[in-house]
């Protein structure tokens, strides 16, 4: 195999869901792109190139910390673990088992996510476990399950993107959030394909588009309905496909008769000619593709918005066709695997539902516990966090910086402080860890083994390349150690990744996300295996839906979803839309990237992007210190004035904590089904900051 010829250990980037292949060499680790890994073929963005910078970092935690007399102080592992066991026991005996919550992460390996879910159900026996993927993938997941019967981000390999002829990206800024993705888009364009980008901002992705639909925040479903209206009007739907492979189109057709272009223009602010052009680009291409991301999904109408765009792909007859279809672009590194193995409040491994008796029986037998002992569905992420101090009195946080990443951050800070007991496992003292009673130092990506599942549903291997610093344990070791202290050591006998994976394979067998046939050896030999893969002699499933949909009827389901306004709209007091998102050189809550000098040099401070006209009206110049306010709080930014944003909208990135925290501004409104918070729309106002106002809480 050619892989042997390349130097270093083959593993994957610790950041986004593209999971670019990396090679790590040397004792002082150096990172290069892995030219052998098919997804990125050696390409990396600045985050990947600098992935090693967090490993031997001076701020790395190398010893447990326990709060003594109000201050966090170093402690031995025994001391920390004893404290945890004692306090958990105390809280649970006083307030019941559900009073202890667990908060996981889409950054954890499949093995960790799986073991954490088992830990909650078996060792803590609490129903309250959820994870930060709730803030990321839950709307798309719900929509995909409803419409297509399964939730695998891309139901086809990324290479299909290069082969389509018209690609619509909805609320996806891949040029900044996963740059090597653009190579596929460029290849598609080079073959004459068209790129349509739906985004309130003219992002670098939108700048590369054939057509940019600059919609008003919160109007995604109206736009999608308008596009289907034009497809129907101009006979560009695939009637034969709709007839053979779908159900529910008549309702959608009747609904979209009320979304004629002039009306949709008025709702969305997208010129009607562009709505028509978008429909024509998609409808006249032989192969076309619709991909959604957080822009449309992180709204209180997120599920509906996504369903409305799935309708577009279904009406075009593309879902299940090679080189076309619908997909969602997963965000976090293991955002896909993280939502499959039981970190979700309502879920058991293998994407099983926790209220399904069959699923409970199977998983209980693999775990060797009584089926009735398994808890039922618990609170979703935001619901759990906003109940801290009341229902949930003690909380485990693993691999997540909830204080920065949760909407309405000021409220969440109060809630975290109201806890009886907080444990955080992380490798840096994040904003959340700083509030903890016990902090456990854990290993990082290059120091551990495991598997990740990338945005294509390709299960890949994270391989240990270097030793973790002394004093640090892997998350798997930590989970097993705590379980042992709680008296459940027998159920958590091994912290070896491969052995945990083998158990995961058994637990997922027969479920929708079936990993039973995937082995470490196969992953290495095949450069990843696509789930579902029920048997070792099964080739894996790069493409879904060719024959049928895994729904009850075998058909895909249209959903008639009307446009509904976001929870909060601009008014006289808060006249602007506020939308949030990512910038290229930072990642998520910034716990990792804000500690990398190469990255902070590029993106040193949180900016607030606004239109020149809006800036003039408020007397703001480029580079000014500004304060953005909403009904929930204020935050301070540096103005970035650019005509690439709508006049009625301000954009702020969410990678910073303290006074620069975007989530002090966002609203806690949730989608009724997915419980996704509305990160992407709320009402705000902006003004120049008073010159002597002081930034508080900013990390040094």
């Amino acid at each position: 195999m050619a892989a042997e010829a390349l130097p270093g250990t083959a593993t994957h980037c610790p950041y986004c869901a593209l999971q670019c292949g990396l090679r790590v060499t040397g004792p002082r680790p150096v990172v290069r792109g892995d030219e052998d890994f098919p997804v990125n073929r050696g390409a990396l963005c600045v985050k990947g190139w600098n992935a090693a910078a967090t490993l031997a970092h001076s701020e790395r935690l190398t010893s447990p910390l326990v709060r003594k007399g109000g201050e966090l102080a170093t402690a031995t592992w025994d001391e920390a673990l004893d404290t945890i066991a004692a306090r958990v026991h105390e809280v649970q005996s006083k307030h019941g088992r559900d009073a202890v919550g667990v908060f996981g992460s889409g950054a954890l390996t499949n093995e960790k996510g799986y073991l954490l879910g088992k830990f909650a159900r078996v060792a803590l026996r609490t129903s309250n476990i959820d994870y930060n993927g709730r803030f990321c993938m839950s709307s798309a997941a719900t929509a995909s399950n409803l419409a297509l019967g399964i939730d695998r981000g891309l139901p086809f390999p990324l290479a299909d993107v290069a082969r389509t002829q018209a690609l619509m990206l909805v609320g996806a800024n891949v040029a900044e959030t996963m740059p090597p993705f653009m190579r596929y888009v460029d290849a598609m364009r080079a073959e004459g394909g068209a790129l349509v980008v739906v985004d309130p901002r003219k992002t670098p992705t939108a700048q590369a588009a054939t057509l940019h639909l600059r919609l008003t925040p919160g109007t995604d479903a109206a736009l999608a309905n308008g596009i289907v209206h034009v497809l129907v009007r101009d006979a560009l739907i695939d009637a034969d496909y709709i007839d053979r492979r779908t159900e529910g189109f008549e309702e959608v057709k009747a609904l979209v008769a009320g979304y004629w272009p002039e009306r949709v223009e008025r709702i969305t602010g997208v010129p009607q000619a562009q709505i028509v052009e978008a429909a024509h680009l998609l409808g006249r291409a032989r192969r076309s593709m619709v991909l959604t991301a957080r822009g449309a999904e992180q709204q209180s109408q997120g599920v509906n918005n996504t369903l409305a765009f799935v309708n577009v792909a279904l009406a075009l007859g593309q879902v299940g066709r090679e080189g076309g279809g619908y997909g969602c672009i997963t965000g976090q590194g293991n955002g896909q695997g993280g939502r499959e193995h039981g970190q979700k409040a309502d879920q058991l491994p293998g994407y099983r539902k926790i209220d399904d008796p069959e699923a409970r029986r199977h998983v209980a037998s693999v775990w060797g516990v009584d089926e009735d002992a398994l808890p039922r569905a618990g609170k979703s992420a935001y619901e759990m966090l906003s109940s801290l101090g009341d229902d949930v009195r003690a909380l485990f946080v693993v691999g997540s910086n909830v204080l920065v990443s949760t909407p309405n951050a000021k409220l969440i800070a109060q809630k975290l402080r109201a806890l009886d007991f907080l444990v955080v496992a992380d490798f840096f003292l994040s904003e959340t860890a700083a509030l903890a009673d016990v902090v456990l130092p854990t290993a990082q990506w290059a120091e551990e083994d495991g598997t990740m599942t990338n945005l294509e549903g390709r299960v890949i291997r994270r391989t240990r390349a270097i030793d973790a610093p002394a004093g640090v344990r892997t998350d798997l070791e930590v989970i097993c150690a705590i379980a042992a202290r709680l008296g459940y050591g027998d159920f958590f006998a091994s912290s070896d990744a491969r052995q945990v994976f083998d158990e995961l394979r058994r637990a997922t067998a027969g479920g929708p996300a079936d990993y039973a046939g995937i082995t470490y050896e196969r992953i290495d030999a095949e450069r990843g295996v696509f789930w579902p893969c029920p048997r070792e002699d099964h080739p894996g499933t790069p493409r879904l839906f060719a024959e049928r949909f895994p729904t009850k009827s075998g058909r895909a389901r249209f959903h008639a979803v009307a446009h509904r306004a976001p929870a909060e709209e601009p008014d006289a007091d808060y006249p602007l839309y506020l939308t949030t998102g990512r910038v290229l050189a930072q990642y998520q809550s910034g716990t990792q990237t804000r500690r990398v000098p190469e990255l902070t040099a590029i993106a040193p401070v949180a900016i607030a992007q606004l239109h020149p006209t809006t800036a003039r009206r408020h007397g703001i110049a480029h580079g000014d210190a500004v304060t953005v306010s909403t009904r929930r709080g204020d935050a301070r930014f540096t103005a970035s004035v650019a005509a690439t944003i709508r006049e009625d909208t301000v954009f702020v990135p969410f990678h910073w904590g303290g006074a620069q925290s975007a989530n002090r501004l966002t609203i806690g409104a949730l989608d009724p089904t997915s419980k996704m918070p509305e990160f992407k729309v709320c009402a705000a106002r902006i003004q120049r900051s008073a010159p002597n106002a002081e930034a508080d809480g900013e990390r040094k």
């Binding site: 098919p38 990396l44 002829q165 460029d186 004459g192 090679e322």
Partner: protein, 825 residues
């Protein structure tokens, strides 16, 4: 809880929408809902009737609520049932001549409006029955009747130059009728437009073919029994075979009047949408609120939302305080958006931009710093912005021009060379121009080393060309090319001369055998087309053709278009054709529904919009050889008329061009080759800016030019030599093309190749035979010419079973695309 009875009279845009809104607020648990509709259908979108009339929308696709919807939602719908009375004391409505009685707790009147028909002599044959050929335009039945009648006549008049009248007129025009618009007022759409806008709109409509008659009072209809014309009050007449009356609407309030409710122009309602009877509400076009009636859908929907909130008690104190109106004219080809006030009033500020020659007129009415009204005619690109400013009462920018014109500041367009040092070149890796410059100064002298060192271009890859430009700027002549830059294709680590030698020595005749022998067996998809081209050049007919090595264009011998269809260009030697050939091309274009037939820049005819699976049949029907307009090969030889006809011609450029094209057609090359011959130095066929060109000069001589370009860059070709005969032109053309084929990098055009090699060197090799290879070059090109086979013969002998099948054959999943040179035009 016992359910209350909610009765809705009217199943149109307001009535049905009200019920939807009530249901969306849990109304099904609260009410038994009964609806009455005049028409036999469910509810359809009346807004789209002008689309139906214009043939743009199928009538069956405009239904918002099919009959099944009522049933699914437990609604009793009486279709075809006219309500003729309300017994307010007993709270019962009477319908269908008392055949239907329905009691109510809450009654909603949503009877909409009727078409207003001015008094016209002889318009009716009976009480309420129009003469044949006279129509109103309100309902789906009206629309179908108009469509049906219009198919039998040749001319029509529309009475009324308002919004709906113009949309109707445009629809009739599309049906092929001669259409007149007769309007009472001094300009069109006077309700929404000021005089200037009306004048410009008139001209735009006339340019479309409508005939507009203003300030005409129509007195009556001429013709017996059918309409034959109109008679005006001034005694003049107009011939027309049908009349569509679209002179406005009148609220349909008769039911309310009969029931003794307060009615002025419409049924009077308060902010709670209640009539003078507490149990009866009115919404939509039949209602009059604060003295206003509305004829547009948005206000109607605002009203029903308020009423639904009150009825369901979800917001029992909701109030309706009036709507701001805006509308757009749905006429293809004329952009018109209007909103709010038509003219300034008192202290209002009026901002006007007028450009009648382009049909553009923009006007804003600004009141207290907010938008009170706007007219956008001819250019509605800013309409969404203005609409939102208007709808939301946004503060306007001090510089009002920002509202009228799109900001151009988005376009950067600045050359990378002019950018400041702190400009970011590589976004993925945050690399500034300054850092790249520094790296070059620090010794990075090749693109690969520079990219590796700075990491620019290692993410999405888009900025590589900018990095190269900076490298060249800073390093100047000291740019060192790294070895891989010289590789003919990225997947095989050899420069072209070594690669050619290895292929010849080892007898490698297929792309896969090259990978096997020279690249360790690793196939690199992006390298395949380049290798295929080279192998064809080297081996001619002995080349072992593997289809998967080709671009889609080369697989199916046609040029893929952005919508996935193909363009077909048959060869027309020297641009000279015959009437019979043209006729045949025309027949083929019609038979296969070519979406566009275009004369190309290369003097031939392009049939666009052909689906892949039809290609073989198109070629068969044409019976002409391929023009190779899709390939990296000899394309065409453009000619001027030459000495045979032209008064200035000194050489037979047409004859020469035909000879050239017949000889070199289909010759594969690293990139496309476009040729031309000119009959005199006036150069009408632009031969001096072609890849290879010949220009006739006095004395029967020809100048041979090579390396010209008139594409994304323009370069005058270099004179290779001056010769005396057609044969010599052919000889030097062939020799140069073979030299280029053998030595250019894949996708290197002749102008880059000539510049890279240097014209003096090219002359020494090809004219002075410095390297002693001229004889071999001549023989090689002859061999290639002999190997020519018209690829369109694959129409009858497909190379693979699904060569022209609709879907792509499965490709390698893990193919990671590299940035390629763009396709050829």
């Amino acid at each position: 809880m016992k359910k209350e009875r909610l009765v809705v009279v009217g199943n149109g845009m307001a009535g049905a929408r009200l019920v939807e809104e009530v249901l969306a607020r849990g109304g099904r648990d609260r009410f038994d809902i009964v609806m009455f509709g005049d028409e036999p259908y469910g509810n359809y979108n009346r807004i789209l009737l002008s689309n139906v009339l214009a043939g743009a929308h199928d009538a069956k696709d405009i239904f918002l609520n099919p009959l099944a919807w009522y049933e699914q939602n437990g609604i009793t719908l009486h279709t075809n049932a006219r309500v003729h009375g309300i017994d307010r004391r007993a709270k019962v409505v009477h319908a269908a001549d008392d055949a239907i009685l329905e009691g109510y707790d809450h009654l909603v009147i949503a009877t909409g409006s009727n078409a207003f028909v001015p008094p016209l002599e002889r318009a009716y044959v009976d009480e309420g029955k129009f003469r044949e050929g006279v129509f109103v335009f309100r309902t789906l039945d009206d629309t179908n009747a108009i469509l049906d009648y219009a198919s039998k006549v040749k001319s029509a008049a529309v009475l009324g130059g308002g919004l709906l009248g113009l949309e109707a007129a445009r629809g009739l025009l599309r049906l092929g009728l001669e259409v007149h618009v007769v309007h009472l007022m001094k300009h069109l759409m006077e309700v929404q437009l000021d005089r200037m806008a009306g004048l410009i709109l008139r001209r735009s409509m006339e340019q479309m073919g409508l005939r507009v008659h203003l300030e005409k009072v129509t007195a009556g209809v001429i013709g017996e029994p059918n309409v034959q014309g109109l008679l005006f009050a001034d005694g003049s007449t107009l011939d027309c075979e049908m009349l569509v009356v679209s002179a406005g609407i009148r609220p349909n309030a008769q039911l309310a009047i009969d029931a003794g409710l307060e009615v002025e122009r419409g049924i009077v309602v308060g902010d709670d949408m209640r009539t003078s009877d507490d149990a009866i509400f009115a919404v939509g076009e039949c209602a009059q609120h604060r003295g206003k009636t509305y004829g547009l859908v948005a206000p109607l929907w605002d009203q029903v939302r308020v009423l639904a909130e009150r009825l369901t008690m979800t917001k029992p104190d909701a109030t309706y305080t009036g709507s701001q109106v805006s509308t757009k004219l749905k006429v293809m080809g004329v952009d018109l958006a209007v909103m709010g006030a038509r003219d300034a009033d008192g202290d209002d500020e009026e901002v006007v931009y007028s450009e009648p020659s382009r049909g553009v007129y923009k006007k804003l009415v600004v009141r207290n710093g907010k938008l009170a009204g706007a007219i956008l005619l001819g250019d509605a690109t800013m309409a969404p912005n203005l609409l939102q400013a208007f709808d939301r009462g946004r503060d306007l920018p001090a510089d009002r021009s920002e509202l009228l014109f799109a900001l151009s500041s988005e376009a950067s367009g600045a050359s990378v060379l002019d950018m400041p040092d702190d400009a970011q070149i590589c976004n993925c890796n945050g690399v500034t121009k300054g850092r790249i410059v520094q790296a070059v100064r620090g010794g990075c002298r090749s693109l690969k080393v520079l990219c590796d060192s700075t990491r620019a271009g290692t993410g999405c890859g888009t900025c590589k060309k900018d990095v190269q430009a900076i490298l060249e700027l800073v390093a100047g002549d000291t740019v060192k090319e790294d070895p891989s830059v010289h590789h003919y294709v990225p997947g095989v680590p050899l420069a072209k001369p070594e690669l050619v030698r290895a292929i010849r020595e080892r007898g490698l005749r297929s792309v896969s055998s090259v990978f096997a022998a020279l690249a360790g067996g690793v196939e690199d998809a992006p390298s395949k087309p380049g290798l295929a081209s080279l192998l064809k050049t080297i081996w001619g007919k002995d080349y072992d053709d593997e289809r998967d090595a080709r671009f889609i264009n080369d697989r199916v011998h046609a040029n893929i278009q952005k919508d996935g269809t193909f363009s077909v260009i048959p060869r027309i030697y020297g641009g000279v054709t015959t009437a019979a050939e043209l006729r045949r091309i025309a027949d083929v274009a019609e038979k296969h529904h070519a979406r566009m037939v275009k004369i190309t820049g290369g003097q031939r005819i392009d049939l666009l919009g052909i689906p892949k699976e039809r290609l073989p049949e198109v070629w068969r029907d044409l019976g002409m050889p391929s023009g190779h307009a899709y390939a990296k090969s000899f394309r065409t030889c453009k000619t001027c008329v030459g000495s045979e006809f032209c008064r200035w011609g000194v050489g037979d450029s047409t004859g020469l061009g035909i000879e050239i094209e017949k000889r070199f057609q289909g010759l594969e090359s690293p990139h496309k080759m476009k040729l031309a011959t000119a009959g005199c130095p006036r150069n009408c066929s632009e031969a001096t800016t072609k890849d290879v060109g010949a220009v006739a000069i006095e004395g029967g001589k020809w100048e041979v030019y090579v390396g010209g370009a008139a594409g994304s860059r323009v370069r005058k070709g270099d004179v290779l030599c001056v010769v005396d005969s057609h044969d010599d032109v052919l000889k030097y053309f062939g020799r140069f093309m073979q030299y280029y084929r053998e030595n250019a990098k894949y996708l290197e055009r002749t102008y880059d190749f000539v510049e890279r090699t240097g014209i003096e060197k090219v002359k020494r090799v090809l004219v002075d035979d410095e390297d002693g290879i001229c004889a071999r070059l001549d023989a090689a090109v002859q061999e290639a010419v002999d190997a020519y086979v018209d690829p369109w013969r694959e129409a009858d002998w497909p190379a693979t079973q699904n060569q022209f099948a609709e879907s792509l054959a499965p490709a390698a999943d893990d193919l990671v695309p590299l940035r390629r040179a763009s396709g050829d035009g």
